[in-house]
Point group: C2
Chain length 195, copies 2
DNA sequence: CATTCAGTAAACTCAGCAGTTTATTTTCTG
DNA sequence: CAGAAAATAAACTGCTGAGTTTACTGAATG
């Protein structure tokens, strides 16, 4: 028995919070959008903060990282970097993902735990570092510091696709994302190719 | 005749706004910190927003970009990239600079003009692109798209030194900054060296 | 010395909005 | 269908904080 009111309220909250941010979101608006009385909102949720946490929780579970990122000695390194980058890039192109992050980022002061949790969840550094460590071990790339390479690769991807958009709103288009990915893969391979 | 009260109020505001952010800053606190009556604050400034703009204006003028960034065919490219990166890196290490940016970034919704203005002012992309275009023209580097190279170079510098710090507070230490710069310069030179 | 101007301190106004209350209606359930 | 549980609408409470008012002080000017 899926509770309809509950869902209506959550859906309305996502709209309201995403459009207005926490501070400018109005509980009256949430109730109106959900086509539910204000009192009912308070029946299902403790208050504004609880509602905020609830919608973030719900959304975050949509972005569980997919299959494990592992180096595969049998596949060409360029192809693997491309796959890695494309998977990450898909997120930056998704307005659902970027809107969620914007929402939480703006409220990082009010919900420090939530923001820290979310940024830890979406941080791929550890996985990327392991990948590059394995790739270097296997001789597919040549570098002294796998962590630096991983950070550089992620940095190249995020530089113009993720960070600026997090602030200004809007998402990057897929063509630009592809250009960034190609540039990053090329540069990392040229810079660290095994001789 | 430098107006002392005016300066006291500005100084107090910088402290209050930087510590608390716009929303949680209290006009009563500003007055108390400035050791001035609340009424006097309103005598010198129209209101909270005007005060905010005033302190941002004051601070921004501290960060006027220094000498022009130009490619110099007579100097080795590695050295020039290092200088470029170090100049930029110095800003990321400065708590004054980062605090100002954090303050404005958090309030980008409330003061869209201010935020856009500030980010345009500190955006070095145009200068970097020109630099790389000249370097490639002169044969010091070899690449098809100078804009991509410029964005990559800036992206490598900002990836772990600027963007994450903008959100989490704190600044990067100089040793880490140096490591980032070295890594970025090396990668760009290896990736785009003239044969 | 008196008038004016800058400043002070503290009480006050006013609006916005989260959360509550109350009185009433709708919707299940046995 | 009776009675309980859930929901509604709208008025109300209570707080917070920006900006204002008022009554007062003191220093400079002429």
């Amino acid at each position: 028995m899926t509770n309809t009111k509950n869902e209506q309220i959550l859906a309305a909250s996502i709209d309201e919070f995403t459009e207005a941010g926490f501070e400018d979101a109005r509980m009256d608006s949430v109730a109106a959008r959900a086509k539910v009385s204000k009192r009912t909102v308070y029946k299902y949720f403790e208050g504004k903060e609880a509602l905020f946490r609830a919608i973030v929780d719900q959304r975050v579970s949509n972005f569980h990282t997919g299959p494990d990122i592992r180096f595969d000695a049998a596949r060409p390194i360029r192809q693997q970097l491309w796959t890695l980058a494309a998977t990450e890039g898909k997120l930056f192109v998704s307005s659902d993902f970027m809107n969620l992050l914007r929402l939480v980022a703006r409220e990082a002061d009010r919900f420090p735990g939530l923001a820290a949790d979310l940024s830890a969840r979406i941080d791929k550094r550890a996985a990327f570092r392991r990948f590059f460590a394995e790739a270097i071990d296997a001789g597919a790339l040549k570098a002294r510091d796998p962590a630096l390479v991983a950070d550089q690769f992620l940095g190249l991807l995020k530089a113009d696709a993720f960070w600026p958009k997090l602030h200004t709103g809007g998402e990057i288009d897929e063509a630009s994302m592809r250009a960034i990915i190609t540039g990053a893969v090329d540069l990392i391979i040229t810079g660290y190719k095994a001789d």
